[in-house]
Symmetry: C2
Subunit: 297 residues, 2 copies
């Protein structure tokens, strides 16, 4: 079954009637399940996580963007989180039987539709970016809504789709595709925070470790210390490689690893990959051999 996740962010975290009307769009959509939503009054922002068939998820995101454009006025919006539009950003994430390339195509179609039908300028980001500096969301959001009103006419700030001016109330929207994030923590058998911090530095991309890994060392009340991570591309840098890396570095420091944890959601594929690795399951074909997959023919 084809499945994608979307995590649309809307610039409303305070007025419950607006939040409800946006959420109703997602609840009303067939073949699309709301996994989570979080409204933050300080950020004045609503973050929704939905999972479902690609067309349904994109349809729901489009309809919700329409609702947000009607109900939110960026000229009056205030909040501590950076934003450029009523529907601020919509990342699409491949989950099952969908490639990143497919998600990029969906992001392009969704973006074009938001631009055409809602007359909102749209920027493509991350994997869907058409200009290298637009891979990073913070570059697109520079100056936020207020700054973009003027800056949008500069050649390098022109949107990928839609008008060369911000929508007066809805602002602009960023649409893109990215990999699923996995929040993954490994616990060490020591109370020495400096060891967790050292291993975090060893493992993370930014200081010379594994690509697609962000890591910090943390103290956890009653549980010693942990290496707390975000894995940003589990297909390329799988959980088990990260775990074995940390075990090896911990051993080098004379410290044991006694458990790990996944915080929140994880695509099934990430765990099947670990099973294949540890069991040395050569030639295993999940599509053919996992019993439940055969239902989906």
């Amino acid at each position: 079954m084809k499945l994608i996740e979307a995590v649309p962010n809307f610039s409303e975290g305070r007025r419950s009637e607006v939040i409800e009307r946006i959420m109703d769009v997602f609840y009303a959509q067939d073949d699309c399940t709301v996994l989570d939503y979080h409204a933050d009054a300080d950020h004045n922002r609503l973050v929704v996580t939905v999972l479902g068939e690609p067309e349904s998820v994109c349809e729901a995101c489009f309809s919700a963007a329409g609702q947000a454009a009607e109900l939110i006025d960026m000229r009056e919006h205030q909040g501590s989180h950076p934003r450029i539009g009523a529907t601020d950003v919509v990342p699409l994430i491949p989950i099952e039987d969908v490639s990143m390339k497919d998600c990029v195509k969906m992001a392009e179609e969704l973006g074009a539709r938001i631009a055409d039908e809602l007359e909102i300028p749209v920027y493509l980001y991350e994997e869907a970016a058409r200009k290298p500096h637009r891979r990073r969301l913070e570059n697109i959001r520079r100056g936020e809504y207020e700054g973009l009103v003027e800056a949008i006419s500069e050649p390098e700030r022109r949107p990928d789709f839609g008008p060369d001016e911000v929508h007066p109330s809805a602002g602009a929207t960023v649409v893109g595709a990215r990999q699923a994030l996995i929040a993954y923590n490994v616990y060490l058998r020591t109370d020495d925070l400096s060891v967790a911090r050292q291993i975090a530095r060893d493992v993370r991309e930014s200081s010379g470790g594994l690509v697609n890994v962000k890591a910090i060392g943390l103290e956890v009340e009653g549980e010693g210390v942990q290496v707390s991570m975000n894995l940003t591309d589990f297909r390329k840098t799988p959980i088990h490689r990260v775990y074995e890396f940390i075990k090896r570095e911990a051993r080098h420091c004379g410290v044991g690893v006694y458990r790990s944890e996944i915080v929140g959601l994880v695509p099934r594929e990430a765990l099947l990959a670990a099973a294949r690795y540890y069991l040395n399951l050569d030639g295993f074909a999940p599509d053919e051999q996992v019993l439940e997959r055969r239902l989906q023919d």
Copy 2:
């Protein structure tokens, strides 16, 4: 989603029109997927593997038993495989969100229905057995159809449901519940078959090893030797425990293990259990945390 597997066996492996009419029952059933079927002329037997929602799978098995009773006459049946009826045996297997207890109850209901509506005597076996010696299929099938015609009137051979005499054409049927089997092989880095045989003896239940494991040592053309196994209850005796056991014994023999393989189908749960074990994923809750599971709320 609730899922069970059934592997009904019918006493027809030669007449293609009969095989087709039985298979048509399964193909016509909604929410029920045929994973495999195999007709063997020598055995004169058809083995069907279906997966789906419990009610649908049981409905299909019942309808197919009706077809088999009409189309197969045990008085004329000959074949090398032991059998007592047109629908010889129907094991039900819990796959997802279904307990063994649920499957036992379904086996009882299916058995009672075959007895009541088709007037075929039914025996319950394996996990569904009501008498200890009926756990083993060979005890129920002793004397086969021909012997059972007379023996069925003996108190200890009386069926669990239905008449105390065999159905003249359809014979008798065995219905039950069992765990999914996993066919699992581990390859050793040696050509010495005696090592594979020794490790097979060490690991299998029958010679003092792990329960729920059947094992033999085999030579594999071009691949050295393997320990070839059936795991008969992967929930109690999981794949990773078997793999680690064999790795340890192989090391003891001075031999390496370089790969393993699952032959045919495996329930997803068996692989998730391996991932949890090797990653030391304490407190992981698949129902809550596996993204795709959330779709099924």
